[in-house]
Symmetry: C2
Subunit: 307 residues, 2 copies
């Protein structure tokens, strides 16, 4: 797809006000967009899988990648995490209390292998079926939660952040997280509230300048209040998909998720692509004083290299 | 049992040096005491239960307390946690980042009902069978982990702390934790390393003065190193007993345990008695500059009232 400069000039309505100064009348508002929008398009997901994604806001596909391919991807991750040129750069984020790398961003530009993976039909095709258009990569990263040292993160909707801080207008994005280590009960697996993707929970508190420098380590702004979370968990429960390395978790941009600290010796890592629709490209932030840096927000057709 | 002043005067050998200035030659040393020492004594535990405790260092008894008795105990806990006279006292410890009560100590003195419970044969009788003598209560507390706000704690052996900071000579103590709320995967249940009670892992770092003011909120001294933890988890694994309110967890004083944050709306609470042998009463701390306050360390036959 080509860039659409006219879309940038058009005034963009804020369908999801957030980072509010005072508590809103309602704990949440209903989602305005369909969840699965490309059932008629080509792609790897079955009708049953699309139904499950629509209902829960996520879909876990165990053992999608195995054997030699998995081994190569794990080696690639290791090489990227240990790359001397990537240390102490803005796109590599360390743990709040140590110098261990927690997230490495823009990995589909940093690595040819991961650039190819981002275009792989098993990932991009699934995204096409879900968002209903040819996807582009809005963000990519490797998350790494070291044994014993990896902290968790609070409940949040990614869309809430991308809308407030990056100017993503609508809920037309999906994340694909390929787990590269076994995920079990004790190494801080992703927890999700199934069904929460149907509700947008506005968050209290204005966004500080350069919030990402803090929020990528430990998010404090853009976190739903306890009352909304309590009602949603009481209604929908919590699920934590677990499984062997090579499983793929697809999850909607607005599903609430969190994770706990890694209290086991086993690291937990994944490679993560966010697919967005070109007609939903990011504009001016809806609730933040400045744009975030380029390693967090790639426009359609972007090229990016570390500065 | 009566106090034994002669035991106080005898020089006490330090069988378990810890809080070391430099790394020891070995990651751990073997335990010197038997685990189950009163098989011939009266008590509620079966031979199979004692075998399981001996092997794993803990035993979970689901649904020990039910119905009206459980309801009354939950009401008693609530009343204690909400008691105005207990706020901002040294024996009530708040969360590291909020004013919510995390632990309330000396509860068998604060509450007649819990004082009776501490003597209840289902608890004290089990302790007798394990430690091999008529037990006294070395410490008691209610732990409360509020929904969303409750933090976890790092891997540690209670005995390591009691030995270093309270002067408990030997491994002759057992904890009885009655869970008063349902324990599930997402509200930060206790995790244990089964079998780790057979090894004493000395910890690095000298104990600061008044360490308990910090350690009861978030423990940083008295935490085993990552190499010992990795080897122990790789050998023994991790277990997290879960179940309905009313279950009882008995665990050895030296079994390594930890817990994660509570990411669910459901609070997690328990009432907790530590039973010790009168001939193992606490002496001078083995590795700390001062004794800890009385609400943490009760001698045999003690009476205690809040000051």
């Amino acid at each position: 797809m080509t860039d659409l400069p006219s879309a940038q000039r058009a005034p963009v309505q804020d369908f999801y006000p957030t980072r509010l100064r005072s508590a809103p009348d309602a704990l949440w508002q209903p989602r305005k967009e369909a969840v699965v929008k490309g059932r008629e398009l080509n792609g790897p997901l079955t009708r049953a899988q699309l139904d499950e994604f629509e209902r829960k806001g996520f879909l876990f596909i165990p053992n999608l990648i195995r054997g030699e391919e998995l081994k190569e991807l794990r080696q690639e991750m290791k090489a990227l995490m240990e790359h001397d040129n990537f240390r102490e750069r803005d796109f590599s984020v360390t743990e709040p209390e140590s110098q261990e790398i927690r997230s490495l961003f823009a990995v589909h530009f940093l690595s040819r292998r991961l650039g190819e993976l981002a275009k792989d039909e098993r990932f991009a095709g699934a995204a096409r079926q879900i968002i209903g258009a040819e996807p582009y990569v809005h963000q990519s990263r490797i998350n790494y939660k070291p044994g014993f040292a990896g902290k968790g993160f609070n409940w949040h909707s990614d869309f809430e952040t991308w809308h407030a801080e990056d100017g993503m207008p609508r809920m037309h994005a999906v994340s694909a997280s390929l787990i590269l280590t076994d995920n079990h009960e004790f190494n801080g697996p992703l927890m999700l509230i199934p069904g929460s993707h149907e509700k947008f929970v506005p968050c209290l508190g204005e966004t500080p300048a350069n919030n990402h420098k803090r929020s990528l380590k430990a998010q404090q702004v853009g976190v739903p209040g306890p009352q909304a979370l309590t009602e949603l968990v009481n209604e929908y429960g919590i699920e934590a998909p677990k499984g062997k390395a090579g499983g793929l978790l697809l999850f909607d941009c607005n599903v609430l998720h969190a994770s706990n600290a890694n209290l086991s010796p086993d690291p937990r890592s994944n490679v993560f692509f966010v697919y967005n629709r070109p007609d939903n490209r990011c504009q001016t932030p809806f609730a933040a004083p400045h744009r975030r840096p380029g390693f967090l927000v790639h426009p359609p057709g972007a090229q990016w290299t570390p500065k």
